[in-house]
Amino acid sequence: MPTARLLISRGGAGDAARHEAFNILFEPGESVLDGLRRLRVTADPSLAFRYACLNANACKECMMLLDGRVIYACTARLEAREMRLDPLPNKPLLRDLATVIAPPDERLR
């Protein structure tokens, strides 16, 4: 199986920017979201990102930056190379790759 090296932005609002590297084996065709979900099980359950629908590209929650471009993690595929993941730059950061994306009138405060 090929290996992807995910360079993932870690930390919350106000933390100094840092990236953590994870190597992950994958089957060709698997998505970045598949890889992130597997990392939570095998490596670090605290890794934070947003998703609801897993695979269908229906909830539109899993937006993030891959090598500086906005992607849906559920439709971008893992590749056998270094892949840099960052949170959306124009949204308030919650933690790691998760940002505040709810419409303002659907937030608690």
Binding site: P45, S46, A48, N55, C59, R77, L108
Partner: protein, 548 residues
């Protein structure tokens, strides 16, 4: 933080949103619509690429009572006839209201375009092209919720962890605000559980990460009764291979409605009729329980497809016909390297829907004052096997009824947030890989509590769930108040999933027969004496079976 509402709705799929709209138009001033993810985007509704069953054909061509007859037959003698009738009758009216709200049901010269799904006596399933039913339903209901103005407050990223019970009545809820990690209390004289089903409890599932069965656990812990928990529907032809991204794994059903398609074993032979199915000449009429059985048995006989499922073939369908039926979806498949004129795909059963759920009356009220349920969270309407196309219809109809009932409930005095529930949210616990524990629960359920069960397997699952419960402990890992803390969120899910898993195992162990979605390999026959429903409740921390 604390919120007050007249009607609290937990979950913003089709059932929750319809309930909110109905409660608001009946004059409820403060409807609070919560979702653990984003409003109207999580859960099963938005993912439904499928069709919606309702008797809405031109006058004289169909009647909701025909739909009811098919629903009762599919339920293998266990449907609650009153709930099933509401699904069919009120559901049809909701489909027409959705049409007035411009959902965009596909049309032809005669009115609504409709397909005939397995188990239906005629073409009765409407849809929105192309594979867009769920997103269209969600979008339409979201627009109506917003149109209700200030009567409906929408708040996303709130996971309700416990209901508050005072003097035997539900008076509100305690919740985790996922975005901040802060606790939240909500006071409300009426609470509607619209959290959907439990498919996330299985390793291979077709739903979203939100469907962890938490509504059933909330109801149990508040003193409400469940019904039919042994009946988990597996969708027979969930996509298996090659890896397909950006599409719901249940997408092949609408393909079969429109184009038939052929289900083949590893030797490229049709096989459904060997196991009691009825597909013939490229038609599609084998019901879900029979198709799941047939695919599993072919694999046990060593005749599966390479990845352990069955082949689905449309290679006999001309390219132009494929294009006419599914337009842009054909391009999406091409992007995944699949050309249906050339390639077969592999499919296999996948956890899809829960027939069981919260026991309600015809007004969607539970046995606990102040607590109602709607949508898939409700048990009983679909018996031992749900008819294709009934899930969205049920969500709409039961949501509307629950909203109407809740609107009429008078405020009860006083609200005191449950101290134990609040303490749990404030607790600091040892580090725990909760994501791995959930993966283990999914493996346990898939291995021994899938469509085929034995006493030995169910006992093994019960022991494994008990061990998991011990390991999960009494406190969530880490410290409270952390933004988007998934490890902690998983712990609260795991707590509910273990209880709900135990309920499914208990009911499945007791039912010593095979019926619909519940197949016992040690009790293969359907027994007349078992044509009855099982109820369950939680008393003094223990699950009890009782007649429903």
């Amino acid at each position: 933080m604390h919120l007050d509402a007249d009607v609290l709705i937990i979950g913003s799929g089709a059932a929750g949103m319809y309930a909110a709209i109905e409660a608001a138009r009946r004059g409820t001033a403060r409807v609070l619509l919560l979702d653990r993810s984003l409003i109207g985007r999580g859960g099963a509704t938005v993912m439904a690429q499928m069709t919606v069953a309702a008797a809405v054909g031109p006058a004289g061509t169909d009647h909701w009572q025909h739909h009811l007859a098919d629903t009762l037959a599919a339920g293998r003698g266990l449907c609650d006839p009153a709930l099933a009738a509401l699904l069919c009758e009120v559901g049809a009216d909701c489909i027409l209201e959705m049409d007035r709200w411009k959902v965009g049901w596909a049309r032809n010269h005669a009115g609504f375009a409709a397909v005939q799904a397995p188990g239906h006596d005629r073409a009765r399933c409407v849809y929105v092209d192309f594979l867009a039913t769920g997103p269209a339903v969600s979008r339409t209901l979201r627009a109506q919720v917003q149109r209700s103005g200030h009567a409906i407050r929408r708040v996303g990223e709130v996971m309700v962890t416990d209901l508050v019970v005072e003097d035997g009545a539900v008076t509100g809820a305690v919740a985790l605000h996922v975005a901040t990690g802060e606790p939240l209390t909500i006071a409300a004289p009426a609470t509607i559980i619209a959290t959907g089903g439990l498919t996330r409890m299985y390793a291979r599932n077709s739903a979203s990460a939100n469907m962890s069965g938490d509504g059933y656990a909330l109801a149990l812990r508040a003193g409400a009764r469940l019904i039919d928990m042994e009946f988990v529907q597996f969708f027979p032809i969930g996509h298996l291979a090659p890896r397909l991204i950006g599409m719901d794994p249940i997408m092949w059903d609408p393909f079969r409605y429109k184009l038939g398609g052929r289900l083949l074993n590893g030797a490229m032979e049709e096989f459904a009729d060997r196991w009691g199915g009825s597909d013939q000449d490229g038609g599609y009429s084998t019901t879900r329980d029979l198709a799941t059985y047939a695919i599993t048995k072919e694999n046990e006989a060593g005749r599966g497809s390479p990845s352990g499922g069955a082949w689905l073939s449309f290679t006999h369908v001309p390219a132009a016909e494929l294009r006419a039926a599914f337009g842009p979806v054909i391009d999406k498949l091409a992007a995944n390297g699949i050309d249906l004129t050339r390639d077969c795909v592999e499919v296999s059963p996948i956890a899809h829907y829960h027939m069981g759920g919260i026991r309600v009356d015809i007004a969607m009220r539970t046995n606990v004052p102040g607590l109602l349920a709607a949508g898939e969270a409700v048990g009983g309407a679909n018996g031992a096997n749900r008819l294709s196309g009934n899930a969205i219809t049920e969500a709409l109809a039961f949501g509307r009824i629950a909203g109407a009932s809740a609107a009429g409930m008078a405020a009860r005095a006083g609200f005191v947030a449950d101290r134990t529930a609040l303490a749990r949210l404030a607790a600091t616990g040892p580090a725990l890989n909760t994501a791995a524990l959930i993966a283990r629960l999914q493996a346990i359920m898939a291995a021994d509590v899938g469509p085929f069960r034995t006493k030995a397997g169910l006992d093994r699952a019960a022991a494994a769930l008990a061990a998991l419960d011990q390991e999960a402990g009494e406190t969530p890992p880490g410290i409270p108040g952390q933004p988007h803390d998934l490890a902690r969120l998983d712990w609260f899910d795991l707590r509910q999933m273990i209880l709900v898993g135990q309920a499914v195992v208990q009911a499945a162990t007791a039912r010593q027969e095979s019926r619909g979605a519940h197949q016992r390999e040690d009790f293969c026959a359907t027994e007349a004496a078992w044509q009855r429903n099982q109820g369950q409740s939680l008393r003094d921390g223990a699950l009890h079976l009782e007649p429903a």
